[in-house]
Subunit: 260 residues, 2 copies
Amino acid sequence: MKRVTRRQILGPVGLAAGSCVLSSCFNKNVAPSSGKGKKAVFPWPYAELDPDVTAKRTYYDCEKGKCMYGVFAPVMSRLAEEHGDPYRSFPVGMMRYGVGGAGGSGSLCGALNGGAALIGLFAKSEDDMKGLIRGLFLWYEQAELPAYVPEKPILDVEVPRSVSGSVLCHVSLTRWCETSGSKAFSKPREERCKRLAADTAKKTVEILNAYFTGESLSVAELSEDVRRCRSCHAKGSEISNSSGYMNCGSCHSSLAKDHP
Amino acid sequence: MKRVTRRQILGPVGLAAGSCVLSSCFNKNVAPSSGKGKKAVFPWPYAELDPDVTAKRTYYDCEKGKCMYGVFAPVMSRLAEEHGDPYRSFPVGMMRYGVGGAGGSGSLCGALNGGAALIGLFAKSEDDMKGLIRGLFLWYEQAELPAYVPEKPILDVEVPRSVSGSVLCHVSLTRWCETSGSKAFSKPREERCKRLAADTAKKTVEILNAYFTGESLSVAELSEDVRRCRSCHAKGSEISNSSGYMNCGSCHSSLAKDHP
């Protein structure tokens, strides 16, 4: 019987990026004029942003609309400052829905949902979009977060780092609670999520910058454990009853005796 | 030792709605004119839509952009047909990112992500938004889906129903594969997801219609098992190390011996 343990530490971040992800050609950084009543051009043009400035804006924007809003809004506002429409017209307030894993459900981390939404808005093909989101999500699963330390903290406390092992809000949050000893609805946990969102916004912008400039960027890859699971369950495998690449070990901690 | 089993059948759908969710006052169904360079009004006004027409549009729109797009786009296009901007200006193509649980990751079901995004765009407060999303998500976890049967099927096959027990794409999909005997990347599975998205769009519109008209709507509630878990782990409890209301039993199938 093989076991995949719940607390397993995953492989290191920083492996070389697949060329399929980050070698796409550069898109002209010109915002389209959105004529009255004219259907918007899609995908929207992207202009290179400063990852650190974005992180800082995200940290404070989380005060206005929490994690998904915090990641999405600063990118729109920065592009709107430079180019006006269509960025200015985007109803960024809607992104508040991502809070707490979408409406507080605990599913997909809102910071990641915001990052993925940005990638969806700018990526030039479905394959590119999937590749960029995959880089973001695997980084989040495997990195020690939060790494962002604000110059002027909203809550001036030491925030321990943890490895989420999951893209899910509930798992990410509970693992951090275990590491820090803080409660799920405490002020330090809120501070942690603002800093985590800042990290996620920074990584999203780094990924988008690299995608549009063609520069290389090291991205996370699937762990050896997940690869093993996928050899039987993923696309093209014998059983092929599973879709996705979330870390299996965060839920499948105890497999049946007859599992190979 | 108490156990929460992975395959547990959940409580019935259709309990009376909490008044907090559906008793909000009606919003005038007037679309704002989006002046050039003028920041959009938020939240956007909602106008009552036909749930069955929406479901049908969703089913076919999934061909263009998959599940999240399929749920989100028909609502925007129907409102744009009636009111033009701002609905017409929304870059609906971005919603393709929700495919396969966000970029193919297997996390939050894209149909639900699309429904939640719509709720985020129209709900008048954070509390309302959370309540409406909760009604949608719990319905999805507990209902036998897909229920939608197209008049002119894209793939004319019998599509078995299953109870996902989860808002996650991976879990929902794998359970359906177990029920149907189909593979995860088969044509019948694609057909299932289009019909499931149609169901989700219909439910989203029913929820939004009820919210804005003040009509009553029966909504799903937390199962007894989840309530029991939450009594120790959720907000205000003794341990309070968990956020969210996803069905616990879909992952926590085997609890430690010392669990009370």
